[in-house]
């Protein structure tokens, strides 16, 4: 690291604040990204774990091992810079899908794409150290805990890839879109409860999780909260407990993985007595939308809102 780096970083930060301020009050027609200064390299970003990461030049060969990050990269116009994505990254279709795995990363296979930036959702198998020896920087973007984390990651990916303005813009638009959807969704006086299903073994999420916070936007109560005895956020529920709790809505996050539909749920023993089933309020979600903290989070919020109308 050169002695000038901190000063450069500070200057960059100031430029960014400027860019954000402009973006923040832009109610006129969108203009092309202002602040080219924001995308000068080297750039130092702060990863969510608090560690600084310095990129000497603009990464033109990005490998993404996180489906959420892949969607973000393409949404901010960094798609041209992406050379390979992992096997789980199935969106957008033009993403260069490979057999790389983010769960069991293979350092050699990743290095084979000669990336100058790797983005992953976790450091499985000491990948960061392995790639570090080869001088390849890795940006770890862990699962978002709330919507602010999502916005922060959009901006972070923007800065790290030389698309700072687009990243900030995506964050702002997403925030506005979600606020509008929530605002336009009619409120009811009677509290609505819900059950969000992760898999056919009845693993669920509590309102403390990222997905639970999305439902929380609409003031719904989560039947899984009472069952979170170990505070993991992902309790496994009993079928009889779900029936007893009688949720107003059931959201299925296991339609693609496990073929669940409103029909299969209605056929489960005893489930035909649940209000959500008798009143046709079983909502089949796209598994991917319900598990990623990328730009399509707006689509998930919209799906939930539609279920409430």
């Amino acid at each position: 690291m050169t002695p000038q780096t901190p000063r450069r970083a500070r200057r960059l930060a100031l430029a960014l604040v400027g860019a954000l301020a402009i973006a923040g009050c832009a109610t006129r027609a969108p203009e092309p990204a202002p602040a080219p200064a924001a995308d000068t390299f080297p750039v130092t970003v702060t990863a969510p774990d608090g560690k600084p990461l310095t990129l000497e030049r603009k990464p033109e060969r990005i490998v993404s091992l996180s489906a959420s990050a892949t969607e973000t990269l393409f949404a901010i116009g960094a798609g041209k810079q992406v050379v390979a994505v992992d096997e789980q990254s199935n969106y957008p279709p033009e993403a260069p899908k490979t057999t790389l795995s983010g769960l069991t990363p293979n350092v050699e296979a990743i290095a084979g794409h000669t990336p100058n930036l790797v983005i992953a959702s976790g450091d499985a198998g000491d990948m960061v150290a392995g790639l570090g020896k080869l001088g390849i920087p890795v940006l770890i973007l862990p699962a978002a805990k709330n919507l602010d984390d999502v916005y922060a990651q959009f901006e972070l990916v923007g800065k790290a890839t030389g698309n700072a303005a687009q990243g900030a813009d995506l964050a702002r638009r997403t925030k506005e879109d979600i606020a509008k959807i929530v605002h336009d969704t009619p409120k009811t006086d009677t509290p609505r409860s819900y059950y969000h299903e992760l898999d056919t073994d009845l693993y669920s999420v509590t309102s403390k999780t990222f997905i639970g916070k999305v439902y929380g936007l609409f003031g719904m109560t989560n039947i899984a909260d009472a069952a979170d005895t170990d505070a993991s956020g992902y309790p496994k529920l009993s079928a009889e407990y779900v029936i007893k709790a009688n949720p107003t809505l059931i959201f299925l996050g296991d339609t693609k993985c496990c073929g669940q539909t409103a029909e299969t749920v209605a056929l489960r023993p005893g489930w035909n007595t649940i209000d959500a089933v008798t009143k046709n309020r079983v909502v089949a979600l796209d598994d991917d939308l319900a598990s990623r903290w990328g730009p399509r989070i707006v689509d998930l919020v919209r799906a939930v809102a539609d279920a409430l109308k």
Binding site: T104, T200, A227, E240, Y241, R268
Partner: protein
């Protein structure tokens, strides 16, 4: 060897414990309906009176809880009776569907069905139990052949079983890794559980497990003869090879039926027959039928714990059976030190 007989008193006691475990398990559950209200519901059902339960609560008792208790009993009975039978066939106190590769074979075959034809699997019905049966049989067969070719004996058979199980499991893991879109479904099933089962699963497994159980109970005397030695058996007009094949087929069918509906639930097949032996002697005429009842009780109680100890959340049942089974396995190993060596 003790020449114990299955006296009416012993059988009556076992059945009484079984009925008690079914009743208690039906009264208690994660929904917290209150056991006195459930009793009044049962009484109302029997006498046509008024029940304090709502329609939804009644559905919990009759559509969810009661069939689940029965299924736990069926699965436990199947795994325990197969364990007892395998121990007789292999003359090996440590044999069980897991150590001999039967469960691993069933798991691998079922996984291959799920990943290659996820829609055909359709869960429970169709090719899944068939594949599981073939896999269970293949796993045991492979263990047997390898064990014999390596010289036979208890330790060699066990080591062969471990190797076969590891090998089959590795194929299964590989298939899962290649098919990450179905991985969740397979993992859910692998961990084992009875959470979303109902009457459908009960009726589906009942015939397989009943047939296997009858065959195995009838073979109890033959297993006793085999325990003395193959020459002895032959001198009594029994063909040891044929007995082994029949018992293996029946035990593998029971294992496969259990595995197909409940996933992989370990240690039942080893714990139960040994407790039975400690309590009632080592004659297979006693061990086989009592393992059937004991296995049912054991799994009903284990599932009861799984579904209520952290209620309204639930533990995977394999956690409970392994928690009690693994230390027990070591105990049996100690008690059989001389034989295993």
């Amino acid at each position: 060897m003790t020449r114990a007989r299955l006296t009416p008193a012993v059988l009556a006691t076992a059945l009484l414990v079984l009925v008690a475990s079914i009743v208690v398990s039906t009264l208690l559950g994660a929904a917290g309906l209150g056991w006195t209200r459930v009793i009044r519901e049962i009484v109302a059902q029997l006498t046509g009176g008024v029940s304090p339960l709502s329609e939804r609560e009644a559905a919990i008792v009759w559509q969810v809880r009661f069939p689940r208790v029965l299924l736990a009993g069926l699965v436990g009975a199947a795994l325990a009776v197969s364990g007892a039978a395998y121990q007789g066939v292999f003359r090996n106190p440590l044999a069980d569907p897991y150590l001999l590769g039967a469960a691993a074979g069933a798991g691998m075959a079922a996984t291959l069905v799920v990943v290659t034809a996820p829609s055909a699997a359709g869960w429970i019905i169709g090719p899944l139990p068939l594949a599981a049966f073939a896999g269970a049989l293949g796993g045991v067969g492979l263990t047997w052949v390898l064990g014999r070719s390596a010289g036979g004996g208890t330790a060699i058979l066990l080591l062969s079983g471990i190797a076969v199980a590891a090998f089959l499991t590795s194929i299964q893991t590989f298939a899962q890794q290649l098919n990450t879109d179905t991985i969740k479904q397979v993992y859910t099933w692998m961990l084992g559980g009875l959470n979303t089962s109902g009457w459908h699963e009960v009726l589906l497994t009942l015939p397989y497990i009943t047939v296997s159980a009858i065959v195995l109970c009838l073979c109890g005397r033959l297993l006793d003869v085999l325990a003395v030695g193959d020459e002895e058996a032959a001198s009594l007009g029994i063909r040891p090879g044929r007995v082994r094949v029949i018992v293996l087929l029946a035990a593998s069918l029971a294992t496969a039926a259990a595995v197909a509906v409940s996933g992989l639930i370990g240690f039942v097949g080893i714990v139960v027959p040994h407790v039975v032996r400690l309590l009632a002697g080592s004659s297979y005429r006693v061990v086989v039928p009592l393992s059937l009842v004991g296995g049912a009780v054991f799994l009903i109680v284990a599932d009861q714990v799984a579904r209520t100890i952290v209620a309204p959340a639930e533990l995977p049942i394999g956690v409970i059976t392994a928690f009690t089974g693994a230390p027990f396995f070591l105990l049996v190993l100690r008690m059989n030190r001389e034989r295993v060596r």
